[in-house]
Symmetry: C2
Subunit: 412 residues, 2 copies
């Protein structure tokens, strides 16, 4: 569902994959009029897995709901000229390009020559223009050597495209900050955001780089333990697993009380000389503490465990597969107002999320589902560029633009 925060700010998105489309979705969910421009027949991400039996991508339609779709032959100069015109059309709530396509014809100076206060946000792999994706950046962050019991020799990749996601929200932030700045000063902005910079700056913010530089040490590879305090997964009697976190002193106290472990924990403190009120000392004794707590979990069903942990306000969560999550967790259902049901063309009806942010005083509108490619070609060309129906007809005849009938899912 979408909020009216951004006053229909018009954003032209020429993009592929995750980071730029998710940035566009984020803007759309806050009320931007995001117009995604795609190659006629779809760009390189249009058929990304998972796909419906009919071929339409659940990945693409997930990332491109809430937007309008224009299909243009981006290889031809007449098509490129249309994209430039869309991105630089006048109006205080227009003149914004979001892209991850580092092509000269979408370069900032090209846009600025048509609209001096243009805002462009270009997401890159590396800042030098070379290609990188989440996986080929993450491998350099050090995390694979400390994930899942991995090591330098046997690194473990994350499955979540975490850097793409971070990049998306950072880009959406930068665009809105630049729009606000333009509203006050009249100045446009060229914004560039490299996935590798996103990852490596985050390492600085989390203290990871300073740790390596100043303490000359690497994070230990500690499996499912959390770093720097106490937390780990535990198996229950009925074959389920739960994750426990005791980061604050209060969380630790709650956990010890819930598991009836005060005497045993005190004994361990005596034996080791450690003070478990200090998170770093809990971390130091993590294996012994986990071993001490294991039997409590192993002799109870997940339901019993849940009841006791909740009663003590322990910070914990169950492990679930995605189907289990959907089947059992009210947080992922229509009982949660951030979700709605969409009917996406070529896909069917399904649960879908609006913005994660709740703004209780502001009404949300239903999210338009991801459109067939080119569904809004004609209305956008008319509304934004003022083209009349005969001009639009000529562009269709010349194959420069296309409507939804050219969507691959509409092929016989």
């Amino acid at each position: 569902m979408t909020y009216p925060f951004l006053n229909r700010l018009r954003v032209i998105e020429s993009s592929a994959f995750i980071a730029a489309p998710l940035a566009g979705l984020t803007l759309a969910q806050f009320g931007a009029d995001v117009i995604r421009v795609d190659m006629i027949g779809g760009g390189i991400d249009y058929a990304r897995m998972p796909r419906m039996p009919g071929g339409r991508s659940l990945y693409w339609t997930g990332l491109n709901k809430g937007k309008r779709s224009v299909a243009i032959d981006l290889r031809r100069s007449a098509g490129r000229e249309l994209v430039q015109a869309l991105a630089t059309a006048p109006g205080p709530d227009a003149g914004v390009l979001l892209t991850n396509i580092g092509t000269p014809w979408l370069a900032h100076d090209v846009l600025a020559s048509r609209r001096a206060d243009a805002i462009s946000c270009t997401i890159q792999g590396n800042a030098d223009g070379s290609t990188a994706v989440d996986y080929t950046v993450n491998c350099a962050t050090g995390y694979p050597a400390v994930t899942g019991g991995g090591s330098r020799e046997r690194p473990v990749n994350h499955a979540l495209p975490a850097w793409d996601i971070a990049c998306a929200y950072q880009a959406a932030f930068a665009v809105v900050a630049a729009v606000d700045h333009r509203r006050r000063t009249g100045a446009g902005a060229q914004l560039r955001l490299a996935l590798s910079d996103m990852a490596f700056t985050t390492l600085s913010h989390l203290g990871v780089l300073a740790e390596a530089e100043l303490l000359d040490q690497e994070r230990p590879s500690i499996g499912n333990h959390l770093y720097g305090a106490f937390g780990r997964d535990f198996a229950t009697a009925d074959g389920q697993r739960v994750m426990i976190a005791a980061i604050s002193a209060g969380q630790w106290k709650a956990l010890v009380a819930a598991c009836d472990a005060a005497p045993a924990v005190a004994e361990l403190a005596r034996a080791t000389g450690l003070d478990f009120a200090d998170e770093a000392q809990r971390f130091e004794a993590r294996d012994a503490l986990a071993e001490l707590l294991e039997p409590w979990f192993a002799t109870r069903s997940q339901a019993e465990v849940a009841a006791v942990l909740d009663a003590h306000k322990v910070c914990w969560g169950p492990y679930r597969t995605v189907r289990e999550l959907l089947a059992t967790d009210a947080r992922v259902s229509m009982a949660n107002p951030v979700f709605e049901r969409l009917h996406t063309p070529g896909i069917g009806e399904h649960l879908a999320a609006g913005a994660a942010v709740r703004a209780p005083a502001m009404a949300r509108e239903a999210t338009p589902p991801a459109a067939l490619l080119g569904s809004h070609t004609d209305e956008v060309l008319h509304e934004v560029l003022g083209l009349d129906s005969s001009a639009i007809g000529r562009l269709h005849d010349a194959g420069v633009v296309a409507g939804p009938d050219a969507d691959p899912s509409q092929r016989p």
Copy 2:
């Protein structure tokens, strides 16, 4: 380094751990005047690991650079009154609270009763107010069952606090969108963002929820393979590892050419009847394709591999530990303009990152290092609340506020 985009927008941050502080840092890096308010002596995150030998936290100082610090006794009503006054002080570029502390005295209606157009952004664990942290949310996303060869029975946690990071940037975005909205309409905004909503909405955007609902299937657990195309880690002759991604058709073509693998790949296509120009069919044959490419990597040093892959513009990256990254990668060095060197009190001099976003036309200022707690107590009380030195003196005498001498690192 900080950009002047946000015109010294004053944000009062009362926070702990990662999501809210990183949101505040993001705002600060774009030019907000972020004033972090902490309990005298430090909040529950002030000593988070890793720590310097003297006790100061590299985690806390990484997340709280670029901000001013005010130390207040938050347990006392006089202290709480000061925080409310700071968060609701007048001015078009003020009146913003960022917090993850769900306490009644920081509730939105309390602020709105003092300043009708107040903006508050409250980050929560779960939307019902119950506690959750990155780890106790991630376990429910399904990712641990498909990370690092994990399973439902042996889940693998990620080590990167990915949901905290996503939450931070999403929150910074929401704050700036609300500020822009207030500038146009005069209306304030109550924003709430739950970590669990952040995770579960992302599952929707990536198509993961729709896949489970409509196709009734779970993602496969595929180790270091990437999902939906071809990509995996490979060992080189000198004991190094590289990650290869061939998501687009162009990336695949480049990889096959670089590895001199065209005949063998064509033979495999014939034998299997698969068309490797289609990413889904590359994914289907991922094991056979990886096996076929392994010897090429295994018989070359990483340097040789790198030279050939770069010459063919293959999308790849080396695995590194953090120390290796710092020692060898120019992307994490003063050669990269997003980095600078800071001298942080109690820490020393070290590399630190500004915003990942590059805005070539806009000058950046040096980031102020993370301050000792309370370093800006007096100046903020004077500047924002107009208190004179005798009024400030009385607050010190009463123990309601403190200066940097009360920072734990200054204790003898």
